[in-house]
């Protein structure tokens, strides 16, 4: 073929690309551009989380009833073991202990499952990552959104239990909305961090259950934390640290808002700074996790 000389002949690929305004494929967008891209995909993120949620129980005979039954059974198991057998109730009456326990279990499960699905959100969806183009943060965000919706189902159970044990609706119940919002931001940030770590080291999925269980026992899900700490005469700073850890903070916020009836005076009071801690943890993890995840955006999907 006799190719007539084209003005582009002598150009290197990079110069040619620059001349026609081609962009490098697979390059990481800027942080704010990335946020915009993520916002554009909000419908996908929501639809994906709902689809995952529905798909979860679609083979079961009871179907979506399991959304409510699973958390209920969970609470029942903890009640049998810690409430009746081990007597981890501290000085609480059963009317307070059951809501205390169930709130704790649900709130902690929200964080726990966000972390666990976050770890696998990239490494378990490599097919999707390698087939389609979308901001990868969509996946961890979508998975924590799925957990949030799951928690909303659990809240139905929780509200029934509360009323059953004589804690009637009060204005303070509205405080669960900001508390849940803060915890959701915190969880999403954590899920983003775990997603990046899990995409490099899938082994984390094996390790995390143990880490999460330790965290659960250390946060006072099924016993009042400060009561236990005084019993074992732990040094003050350990108690401080455990009480300030995000899981304990979000549980305290929820319990304080919801448990209002008889015997609630047995609960340790909620110091002012707990809300500040909740906000701080949410901002720290939310923003930090997002930036951490974005830093490696172009590398997801390798190997």
């Amino acid at each position: 073929m006799s190719a007539p000389p084209s003005p582009d002949d002598g150009l290197s690929p990079a110069e040619l690309a620059a001349k026609y305004g081609l962009a490098q494929s697979g390059a990481r967008p800027g942080l704010f551009e990335y946020v915009g891209q993520l916002w554009d995909r909000r419908h996908f993120i929501l639809a994906f989380s709902q689809a995952k949620l529905t798909a979860q129980y679609s083979q079961a005979k009871l179907g979506q009833l399991w959304q409510v039954a699973t958390p209920l059974l969970n609470a029942l198991v903890y009640f049998l073991i810690f409430g009746l057998l081990l007597g981890g109730r501290g000085n609480m009456d059963i009317e307070v202990y059951v809501p205390f326990l169930v709130t704790g279990v649900f709130v902690f499960t929200f964080t726990q499952s966000s972390v666990m699905s976050g770890v696998r959100s990239i490494s378990g969806n490599l097919g999707l990552v390698r087939a389609l183009h979308f901001p990868r943060a969509s996946l961890p965000v979508s998975f924590s959104l799925q957990q949030l919706q799951q928690l909303l189902f659990s809240m139905i159970v929780l509200l029934l239990i509360l009323i059953g044990f004589g804690h009637y609706p009060s204005w303070s119940w509205f405080l669960i909305l900001p508390a849940l919002a803060l915890q959701f931001v915190f969880n999403t940030g954590l899920a983003l961090i775990m997603a990046r770590a899990g995409s490099k080291t899938p082994d984390l999925a094996q390790l995390m259950p143990f880490v999460m269980r330790t965290w659960m026992y250390a946060s006072g899900v099924m016993f009042p934390l400060d009561y236990m700490l005084t019993k074992v005469t732990a040094p003050g700073w350990i108690a401080e640290a455990l009480l300030a850890n995000p899981a304990a903070v979000y549980m305290d916020l929820m319990r304080d808002a919801l448990i209002t009836g008889n015997g609630s005076e047995d609960l340790p009071g909620l110091p002012e700074h707990v809300w500040a801690l909740g906000l701080g943890w949410a901002l720290l993890l939310g923003i930090g996790g997002f930036i951490y995840f974005w830093k490696s955006e172009e590398k997801y999907g390798r190997g």
Binding site: M1, G26, A27, L128, R302
Partner: protein, 264 residues
């Protein structure tokens, strides 16, 4: 620096995809040369630094350079495992390059939504989910929904679109997947052996749709083992073998060599 060899340059040809000395390496955390994989895994942890041990590298694409222009349909051929699909994914920006660069005009899209679909959901919800995953808006999906369902022919034998996808026959599922994937218009479109799905009637329909997509898209890449469909749709062919670009030229020339090579 590998030289770009533009064939039959007409007046101003506008490049849409430029691959510059592209290398893609997969890393696999398994099957090391050591004895047991447990010991290998341990030694991998203990001996940090230097070349990672126990991690096998698969060099799937080795220094491929080419320039594709607007209005071209480029076929990719080569034996199994020669790096065709990997190259497409790298062009789409889905696989990070080890070395070298890919420049593209707009966002190239891979024709494939399989991974976004969920077998436990109804066909209906999968159409919406797949569309959203490809970056369509809810309005666009609503506007095209009926077309997608009609094109797939899922409802020809009863109201199957409202049943979970796991109840579909494999042919039906493949048809729905292709219909969802083909519903969007693209700048640079890449098709990975999509022509082999469904019965003859559906194949005819999908070939027509691909031709249509080609008209709308700037550049089309087609991976196929079917030389006939390459001949029918492409005017230029890249031949990959063992991750290297073995030949790049007009369809007839390259296919003739390729058929000689494969002993046909």
């Amino acid at each position: 620096m590998a030289e770009q060899t533009p064939e039959e340059a007409q007046q101003p040809r506008i490049p849409t995809v430029i691959a510059d000395e592209l290398h893609i390496v997969y890393r696999v955390n398994a099957g090391s040369k050591g004895k047991g994989s447990a010991t290998a895994a341990l030694s991998r942890i203990v001996k940090r630094g230097g070349e990672e041990r126990g991690v096998r590298k698969v060099h799937a694409v080795k220094g491929v350079s080419f320039t594709a222009y607007r209005g071209e349909a480029v076929g990719l051929i080569g034996s199994n495992g020669s790096g065709k699909s990997t190259l497409l994914r790298a062009i789409a920006g889905l696989l990070p390059a080890e070395k070298g660069k890919v420049y593209t005009d707009g966002q190239p899209s891979l024709l494939g939504v399989n991974a976004a679909l969920m077998n436990d959901l109804t066909g209906e919800r999968n159409v919406i989910l797949g569309g959203l995953a490809m970056g369509m808006s809810r309005e666009q999906i609503r506007a095209r929904y009926q077309d997608i369902v009609d094109f797939s022919g899922i409802n020809e034998k009863g109201d199957f679109i409202t049943l979970p996808m796991r109840t579909y026959s494999s042919g039906m599922a493949a048809r729905l997947r292709f219909s969802i994937a083909a519903a969007k218009d693209h700048d640079v479109l890449m098709i990975d052996e999509a022509l082999a799905t469904g019965d003859r009637k559906f194949q005819k329909r999908s070939e027509a749709r691909i031709r249509e997509l080609r008209k709308e898209a700037g550049t089309v890449f087609l991976v196929s083992h079917n030389n006939k469909s390459i001949r029918d749709t492409c005017d230029r062919v890249l031949w990959l073998e063992r991750g290297e670009l073995r030949m790049d030229g007009p369809t007839d020339e390259v296919l003739k060599e390729y058929e000689k090579f494969t002993g046909k």
